[in-house]
């Protein structure tokens, strides 16, 4: 006798608990769903959505897009290329600086290196709060310190990535195999030697993969920090959008797309070379 062969009503009478359980769960899901929808419409109302504005906005947008075609940099193409180079430099240097600074700190945040919660906890919260602040905000702060220009951008990327790397690196370190470390200890190695010879060979490929991945995503971030004056192609982009030079805007956007695609290709190749297929699947 299979349950499927029986009348559902009979089953419901026989196992009331099972059926009532799914019923309340359903009501709960329904209530949550309704609340989510209500919040959505409240948000639309609160943020001043209106069909009118949407329609005129999309009309304008369509007009802009027709103005963007064909992309034409005018005479400023060399300037844009230099700005693009600046952007790539910012992404590359910022990421590397962050990685170099984050490595020692991530050791402090890893459970298998620092067993004490009291030492680990503040380091983690510190990294979290750095991560909670957007790169653009860091750029604003660094502009106050080193002045306008790409160097502020490098430092901004380095700062916000420092938080992210600290977290990712410490997770990679926590995921490392204990056996090698114990082997070094058994051979009489010091704590530092344990880290250097037991831990680092295991985690470095993983960390390198993450750094490459971040260089890729930072190329995207570095294209925008120019908007607040921290160097790179974002400055040009923001300016051309403000003066409504749509053909130049589309050129700049295409350049960004091309640069990101190229960096993407290079970094995934390198990542593949460093950590192989198994590491690739981690992302």
């Amino acid at each position: 006798m299979t349950p499927a062969a029986r009348d559902p009503k009979e089953l419901a009478l026989q196992y009331p608990d099972l059926f009532r359980g799914s019923h309340t769960a359903r009501m709960k899901a329904l209530a949550v769903g309704l609340a989510a929808i209500a919040l959505f419409f409240f948000g639309c109302w609160y943020l001043e959505f209106s069909i009118d504005r949407l329609v005129t906005g999309f009309k304008q947008l369509g007009w802009f897009i027709t103005l963007m075609i064909p992309p034409d940099p005018g005479t400023s193409f060399p300037t844009y290329l230099v700005a693009m180079g600046e952007t790539l430099s910012i992404a590359f240097l910022g990421t590397l600086l962050a990685a170099v600074l984050a490595l020692p700190v991530s050791l402090l945040a890893a459970r298998n290196i620092i067993p004490s919660v009291f030492l680990r906890f503040p380091v983690r919260r510190f990294l979290d709060s750095i991560r909670g602040v957007d790169t653009l905000i860091w750029a604003l702060v660094w502009i106050n310190v080193v002045g306008l220009g790409p160097f502020a951008g490098v430092l901004a990327i380095a700062t916000s990535d420092f938080g992210a790397f600290g977290k990712l690196f410490s997770e990679a370190i926590e995921g490392a195999d204990r056996k090698q470390v114990e082997g070094i200890r058994a051979a009489g190695g010091s704590k530092l030697q344990e880290i250097r010879f037991g831990l680092m060979p295991q985690v470095l490929p993983v960390l390198a993969g993450q750094v490459l991945y971040f260089i890729e995503s930072n190329t995207r971030s570095a294209t925008i920090i120019g908007i607040v004056g921290a160097g790179g192609i974002g400055l040009q982009l923001a300016e051309q959008i403000r003066v409504l030079e749509w053909q130049k805007v589309s050129t700049l956007i295409l350049m960004i797309l091309a640069a990101v695609a190229v960096i993407d290709l290079i970094s995934s190749r390198l990542r593949f070379a460093i950590i192989g297929r198994a590491g690739e699947a981690r992302h």
Binding site: L54, G132, D134, V145, G149
Partner: protein, 294 residues
Amino acid sequence: MTISLSSYPPQQIAALEAAYNAAISRKRLRFAVGLVVFVALLIVAGFGAEVAPKTFVEKIGNFVGYFDRILNLDTGKRVWTDPAEWFWGWQKWLKLLAETLLLSYVGTTIGALGAFGLNFFAAANLSPHPALRFVVRRSLEFCRTVPSIVFALIFVIAFGLGPMAGVLAIAIHSIGALGKLYSEQAENIDMKPLEGVRSTGASWMSAVRFAVLPQVMPGFASYTLLRFEINVREASVMGFVGAGGIGQELVVAVRKFFYSDVSAILLMIIVTVFIIDICTGWLRGRLFGSEQRS
């Protein structure tokens, strides 16, 4: 106690060493070449980004000094000695924070709906036609690669200043990012239920509804929550270009040197991001068990 180790005869050692060197010389060469390229890149990038170690050393005091200053009130006292003065604008700021959260919520929802509608056309195993798949994939890639703040800059001109531009910018970027993750999730499903439903003569729609959705929904929800976390951060800077949220206040405070306001707003943003991270983490844990948290 002396330790005596037996060793190979010298000529055998020499042979072994030669073999070892031959085996790793290629690896060494590759490493050396990589190092040279790396250093060259570093130098080029250093010039490109106008890295100025001298300015940095001279001005690094400013960085510490800046944090020192933003933690001082106008009266010269430390901010925490007078929280009422420090958070004098808390009502306004809380309202703007609420606006920021709503902005990211509405943006994420629209983004998730859009990505949900598009991702099945981008997944290799489900897409009805390769050409359609190609078009959808490329447009998702475009939405994902153009940073949301660039969309915001353009939308502010098209839709006027205000949070609506920010919502649409976040929504478009989320469609791109989530669309990719969703379609990858959909590509990894077990195809057997799909074949089962298809074999009953079901249409594409009902096949997706009854065979694919039950498999992918948990993953979709998880990715959407993660995206929401990211979007809260992004929404906090939308105000920089006039697209709503707390960013506007922050950029004004930084530019006009209202030091204690900067620290107050930053603190409020950080705390909000913390709370959102904890809430979504808890929600993810409740919905899918702890193993999904990564």
